[in-house]
């Protein structure tokens, strides 16, 4: 793969590219899903190919070919150059410039005890079926369990001399119980909703989730929600659990700080950002308790690597510090536009998609205390757990989230269970209302595999480390007419 990348880069420069890089990728993914005690889906998919990115006269081009051969590498390179040359012919265009970078050289492999791909399918199916069985309850009409495994090999070469080889292993799992009675439908999930959680790790990560042990609680809570009181409509104090904070962070901090969105290149699809380049260093994003970092070195993070897909070394970058915006997620191109930063967030989905600015691992830094400490300072409020729904505008400014379950907080203690809980806000106002963040002992890493962006569409796998956090004066519930 490395030799083919070199061949592609040589072919691109021979065809007239001023800069070229090539990524060769082989990826294998397995999914196992069971539903109501039966196998619902078993899939095993492998894909490989080479993608070549070039600059010709300051214009960009990208082409890819599934053939990991000299012919495939050369033809992809030549087609990329042709496309870039056609773009360069346009009189009205900006010349693409990249911030300087020392050529990257190195290798990386995910630390893993058991390769998730090599775990027998029968073992994965059995794990799902056993977990499902433990969720059964008279009111639970649908039980689902799923596991995923992925192994990827990736080589990268550039005309500047970069030479990188990386191997990644990922796996994840999740269970869901859907309860139905009296015209109501409620769902509970573990360890999180929307397909569970994943990590860059060996199969020992899935085993550590203890699906079978947690399953009875999941089924019981789904059933209990059917008879729970609805979330009231009011302005109150909320404490959001770590899992709900994942999506809060992802949608209202991760996406708006993607610098390509700030510059408008995703306006046609994924949206733009309420942030402006000149906000860097002075915009109040949240309260003094808000500290957010992007860290592509986090152990077990889905966005962890040695080098991104431009060859920029992994690093820990401050995005928000004491509530002030201090950084963007960037590429070499967008960092050059901004005049600040050096990239490090360029990631392509496989071989057939050009890299875009994506989240890697984005974390809300822990504060102090336990979740009980956060609750203790709430006289009257709501504790929200496990995301159920999300809605946020295309600038990432106005949002509404729903959670699977909530509990009243009365005089510092949890009270009765609530169903159909929602809350809403405006991004900087909401984060400004955060007056407490739980400490390191409550910090958990969660992995998402369905972050979509770009055209043609692609998905990024990202992780978020979060703790429970408390917010004052938040609108919850649905207003009645």
């Amino acid at each position: 793969m490395r030799a083919l990348c070199e061949h592609a880069v040589d072919a691109a420069t021979a065809a007239g590219a001023d800069y070229a890089d090539a990524r060769a990728v082989n990826r294998r993914v397995q999914h196992v899903a069971t539903k109501n005690g039966e196998v619902d889906a078993v899939s095993d998919a492998e894909t490989e190919g080479i993608g070549v990115r070039v600059l010709v006269g300051g214009a960009g081009g990208f082409a890819c070919d599934r053939r990991l051969s000299e012919d495939g590498a050369r033809e992809a390179a030549e087609r990329a150059v042709s496309f870039a040359r056609a773009s360069a012919a346009s009189a009205k265009r900006r010349t693409i410039e990249l911030v300087p970078l020392q050529p990257a050289r190195g290798e990386y492999r995910t630390p893993a005890e058991r390769d998730p791909i090599e775990v027998p399918l029968s073992e994965k199916i059995d794990l799902c079926l056993r977990a499902e069985a433990e969720m059964r309850h008279p009111d639970v009409k649908i039980t689902e369990a799923g596991v995923r495994s992925q192994r990827e090999r990736r080589a990268f070469r550039s005309s500047a001399g970069a030479d990188v080889y990386q191997e990644f292993a990922e796996c994840g799992a999740g269970i869901d119980a859907l309860a139905v009675a009296d015209g109501r439908v409620q769902v509970r999930s573990y360890p999180s909703a929307h397909g569970g959680t994943s990590a860059q790790a060996g199969w020992e990560f899935v085993e550590s989730l203890q699906l079978e042990r947690e399953a009875p609680r999941v089924g019981e809570e789904a059933a209990a929600l059917l008879r729970a009181h609805p979330c009231p409509s009011e302005v109150t104090t909320i404490v959001a659990d770590a899992e709900q904070m994942v999506l809060q962070l992802h949608e209202s901090v991760g996406h708006p700080t993607e610098l390509d969105r700030v510059y408008g290149t995703e306006a046609a699809y994924a949206g733009t950002s309420f942030l402006k380049p000149e906000d860097l260093g002075n915009l109040p994003y949240g309260s003094e308790h808000m500290n957010v970092v992007a860290d592509s070195t986090t152990p077990e993070g889905l966005g962890t690597f040695a080098f991104d897909d431009e060859g920029v070394p992994a690093a820990r970058e401050i995005i928000v510090e004491a509530g002030i915006l201090q950084g963007f997620l960037s590429s070499r191109e967008t960092a050059a536009l901004l005049g600040s930063g050096h990239g490090g967030s360029m990631r392509g989905d496989g071989w057939s998609r050009m890299p875009l600015v994506r989240m890697t691992n984005l974390h809300l830094e822990p504060g102090e205390g336990s979740v009980e400490d956060l609750l203790a300072d709430v006289d009257d409020g709501i504790y929200l757990c496990t995301n159920k729904s999300w809605s946020i505008d295309d600038k990432r400014l106005n949002f509404q989230f729903g959670t699977q379950v909530a509990w009243e907080i009365k005089k510092g203690k949890l009270g009765r269970m609530l169903r159909d809980a929602t809350y809403m806000g405006r991004t900087p106002d909401f984060w400004a209302s955060m007056d407490a963040v739980a400490g390191q002992d409550e910090w958990r890493l969660h992995g998402l595999t369905n972050c979509g962006k770009g055209q043609p569409g692609q998905h990024a796998h990202v992780s978020h480390g979060t703790t429970p956090a408390r917010f004052r004066n938040v609108r919850v519930g649905v207003r009645e007419a």
Partner: protein, 102 residues
């Protein structure tokens, strides 16, 4: 060989690699170009060439599926093995009515 003939040839090769009572091979070939504009400039120009095979097999009433874009003989052989393993690892599907007749 025309693109249509090449796709049928690939499907035939994948089908013959299958280790099954019944088998079905689906070939998806793509040659695409995408020019996206933002701020009146070309952004994310993308040219793709890909070809993949989805092989579905039935073994003792059990159904398994595997996908690959490695279309050489070794790739197809491994895909057939994976589809067989997927079938063998799954319980029999009481609702499966068999593959579509020609």
């Amino acid at each position: 060989m025309s693109p249509d003939s090449a796709a049928l040839d690939l499907a035939e090769r994948a089908y013959r690699a299958a280790e099954a009572d019944q088998a079905e091979a689906l070939v998806h070939s793509e040659q695409s170009g995408f020019a996206r504009f933002a701020g009146s400039e070309v952004h994310q120009p993308t040219l793709i060439r890909d070809e993949s095979v989805t092989l579905r097999v039935v073994r003792d009433g059990r159904v398994g599926c595997a996908v690959t874009n490695r279309t050489d003989d070794e790739g197809l052989r491994e895909t057939a093995q994976r589809a067989a393993e997927a079938a063998d690892g799954s319980p029999p599907d009481p609702y499966f009515a068999g593959l579509q007749e020609p």
